[in-house]
Amino acid sequence: MTPAIFNSRAWYRYRSEPLAVFGLGLLTVIVLLAVLAPVLTPYPDHAGRFVDFGNTSQPPSSRHWFGTDLVGRDVLTRVVYGYRISLMIGFVVLGLAAPLGVTLGLVAGYMGGRIEMIIMRVTDVFLAIPALVLAMAVLGVLERTLINGLLALAVLWWPWYTRMVYNQTRALRHEEFVVAAQVVGASHLHILFREILPNLLPSVLTKFTLDLGFVILVASALSFLGLGVEPPTPDLGSMVAEGASYQPDMWWLPVFPGLAILLVVLAFNLVGDGLRSMFGEGR
């Protein structure tokens, strides 16, 4: 962000929403934690190859705020490192899905005709399968690697962008500035990406922010079902799943990673809501 934005009207509107400001603060803390994990966490080596059979399953204490897990690793450290994976998954998945979905939505909404029908029918098909079930099916079929997990999530996420952008593009298709561009002979490409797309960016950006949270949520659900990244990589969903087996005796194993997921999704949601009101949509 350039400093200029902090003086803008938009920022003023954002700032007037206390929850949005809180969300931005929370998000900043989470991102900082994730980035500076090697410096900030008490036992950085516990995030990787590490076992200490002499220190397993310790309840929260001053040495281990979130307790230790079944092979003696510090849960706090692993939760913070878990944020790294979560954030990475969120950005990579949407980095793939959003541009694809937006492009298809633009094309379908602008071109109309057979192209529109084909794209939107395919979109309908994808949207007719509950996201989690589709991701499970795709992941179940492929080898379980991180890359495949990212692909599976991207595959199920693009249609949402297509549908949103399609609806908005259709509304804009006959607007004066589009017609004017057509009249002066601008190329389709120019009209799509230079004339129409900029008008959609606020809503795409808002959705992107909100979705970052939800991608993390769905990814954690997949890990919870045993379709996540492999050990010893710290992964919040897998940690909840593994810890859930040891309820209620070792409650700290599922509870802290669960709270961590909640907080990061909350942060993205609040920021997304803030952006929405900043761009003047809804109230």
Binding site: L19, V122, A137, V138, G226, A244, P254, V255, G258
Partner: protein
Amino acid sequence: MNLWRYFLGRLLGSLIVLVGVSILIFGVARLIPGDPARIAMGPMASAEQVELMRERLRLNEPVVVQYGGFVRDLLRGDLGISLYTKRPVTSDILSTLPATLELVIAAALIMTLIGVPLGVVAARYRNSGVDRAANLAALLGVVTPSFVWAIFLMLVFAFALDIFPIAGRVSRSAELPPTITSLLILDSAIAGMWPTVLDALRHIVLPAFALAMGGLGTAARLTRANMSEVYDRQYIQLARAFAYTEREIACKYALRPAMVPTLTILGLDFAIMLGNAFLVEMVFAWPGMARYGVEVIIRKDLNGIVGTVLVISAFFLIINMIIDIVVAYMNPRIRFQNR
């Protein structure tokens, strides 16, 4: 264009989508690396036995031929034999689907009966402390994964406070009613077996809440947003001027128009719940489709995967069709819009 033609159009559209879903999921299932026939026959089976199974699954034929055979069987209501349970997929699904439906229906009820009133209250007292609290509560519902809700609820209400059962659909010792609707609570009520009804209700509370929390938040936030918009309209001011009570205004003038977009979103939430039911069922050992779904996926049971996904999608499409029609009925303008 009348409602009937609108309905037919929607039905046709849904059918086309369902065909698309079947092609998509059939294709995905055929991508499976490794040998599904070998997995199905188990480690001790001889090579001839595996080959026999491969023939039976039509695995030696081109994918298009396989799909043709699949559609022919499907039209006869046959989804093939599950490689995991060795029983017809149709009967596997039919035996587990009612439990899932019961759970999802309970969750949908909770979501509507708590979420909408919460939104109404928030809209009425906009920007007050009540509104902010409701907003935050709704937000927490949305941002917490349903399996985390499930585990938190289980830890607190089943383990720590011990007021609800930990798992299952009904106590082992409970007397079971004759099957009429396959929905246990309903069947028990029909049979007048109140102890069983109560027992089943106690079992369904935690999983249903865990499943409903996300949708509950959405429903509340949406109701609030839509009602706020209506509240700004002049006729509400007018109603106020005519000294209608606030409750009457909320119920008569603000809630009804606000219900239309809310209903639409609830339809989408239903789909999300069908997916999330997988997670909640796993935590609470609910005897629904989840364990079956997860098992068939893990075991690369071709027929099981295709059947499960197809049935869930069909349900999703049907629910959305119903909701679209209800919405069209409530708001005739929609019928004339070109979808």
